[in-house]
Amino acid sequence: MHFNPALLFDYWPLLLQGAWLTVQVSAFALVIGYAAGVAVAMFALMPGWLPRLAAGLYIETLRNIPFIILIFVVYYGLPFSGIRLPATVAGTLALALFVSAYYAEIVRAAILALPRGQFESARAIGMSPVQAMRHVVAPQILRALVPPSTNMTLTMMKESAVLSSITVPELTYQSLVVQGNTFAPFEVFAAVASIYWLIAIVIAEFSRRLERRVGAAQIESINRNPIAERYLSLVARRA
């Protein structure tokens, strides 16, 4: 088995281009998807059974089908309705759609976890629902939103790899191109996996910092007694 990174020398720009597109697609899908998710969550909180049912159907459908199939549905469905979009745009929209269902659940859960009295006291003093959301609800749920949201964003970045199936020239697509040219799968996928890994680590670090800023730091209790630690912890300590 030979490992020859020099084989990739000519192809690094292509891979980096792909990586950059991955980052861009993820960023756009994050913004659009989160906005859509908040909208769906707000809709689901409206009075009556119909909004919750409709939102529930939306969320359950998007969560239970594989993303690769969702991409194809969007990709083939858009021309159906007469809209012609380039693959990258269609793919970004599909990713945003996919992720909006998860963000909607996260936002809805965070809002429901807040005691009702908070919203009620804001309304009782004369604030409009929008004012109550802005001044009382949103600042409080921010803390609860950050960890699951950053987790989902990481998942979304990884899911963007599937966009290669509709020829979006992101990192995975480029990896297949390079692999087809060099027939050096080990080098290619080692490089590509490392790039993804690096992006993931950056996202994880960013989310850690954001969590600390918002005050969502979770302190694992390590002051349990040693007997229980022996069974209930997988952390290996140097003796």
Binding site: P115, G117, Q118, E120, R123, A124, I125, G126, M127, Q140
Partner: protein
């Protein structure tokens, strides 16, 4: 020629799942009065308060605050018109409410809790809102604790912040939902003195409480509520000393049996 009562409730009805929590209720509260609303649990006291701030929408009946209709009104053509959300929100600052759990906003300091609604709802300039907020909090004895967050305040202090928050909006009427229940028993005296100081400046108040002694000490009038209706009301001491309604008598007997000295100077009439 009398001024309209600060609060006039007529024929108020609110049903949940077929049962009337508030059933054709009539109540007047005049300016400067303190009315205590007592009754067994489940009688609808809290529902009534929630209707008065439109946190629950009554099914029938009318509410008037300083003569202005609130929430629903009877138009000239005899038709009942429901107010828009904006109309309701416009009158809400006039009805101050202090919740049982206080519901202070934990991400804001005490001062900010009092300042924010003034700025956001009433549109007061921030400088003035801060000045009035500081004034209110100081008057309630919280001058040194204005910059603390609610979690750094004791229960009694939190309640006073909640009171200041409502008072800063210049309400015509203050509603109190069980002001003694969330506090340690020895702090009841403090709540009493706070309410008395408010009464001294002429604030009109409606206090829902299950503590008869508290009601007798604080209120001018007492209204007894049971199963959604006000069965008896009148001057505080008369109600306690000589209740006429049999259910009220039972209620007083039950409550005072545990604490016969709760109301000094009253006899519990067990015969008849």
């Amino acid at each position: 020629m009398t001024a309209p009562p600060v609060l006039r409730v007529s024929a108020l009805t609110k049903c949940f799942f077929g049962t009337a929590a508030v059933d054709d209720l009539y109540l007047d509260v005049h300016e400067g009065e303190i009315v205590a609303l007592i009754g067994p649990s489940g009688c609808g006291k809290s529902t009534l308060l929630r209707c008065l701030t439109w946190l629950e929408q009554p099914d029938d009946g009318f509410i008037e605050v300083t003569g202005k209709p609130f929430g629903r009104e009877l138009t000239n053509g005899g038709v009942v018109r429901r107010h828009s959300r904006r109309e309701i929100d416009a009158l809400r600052p006039k009805i101050g409410i202090v919740f049982q759990q206080f519901n202070l906003w934990p991400h804001m300091t005490a001062l900010e809790n009092v300042v924010c609604p003034q700025v956001v709802v009433l549109g007061r300039p921030r400088v003035e809102a801060v000045r009035r907020g500081e004034e209110q909090l100081a008057r309630l004895g919280l001058a040194e604790r204005m910059d603390r967050h609610p979690r750094a305040l004791s229960g009694g202090q939190q309640q006073r912040v909640a009171i200041a928050r409502a008072l800063a909006m210049d309400p015509a009427l203050m509603l109190f939902d069980e002001p003694t229940s969330a506090l340690d028993p020895e702090l009841v005296g403090e709540v009493l003195s706070v309410l008395r100081s408010l009464a001294e400046v002429g604030m009109t108040m409606l206090v829902v409480t299950h503590e008869i002694g508290f009601a007798a000490n604080v209120a001018d009038r007492i209204a007894f509520m049971d199963r959604g209706r006000i069965l008896e009301e009148g001057p505080a001491h008369d109600i306690i000393a000589a209740p006429r309604e049999p259910r009220l008598r039972n209620f007083l007997d039950l409550v005072l049996a545990n604490r016969p000295h709760a109301i000094p100077g009253t006899r519990i009439n067990k015969t008849e």
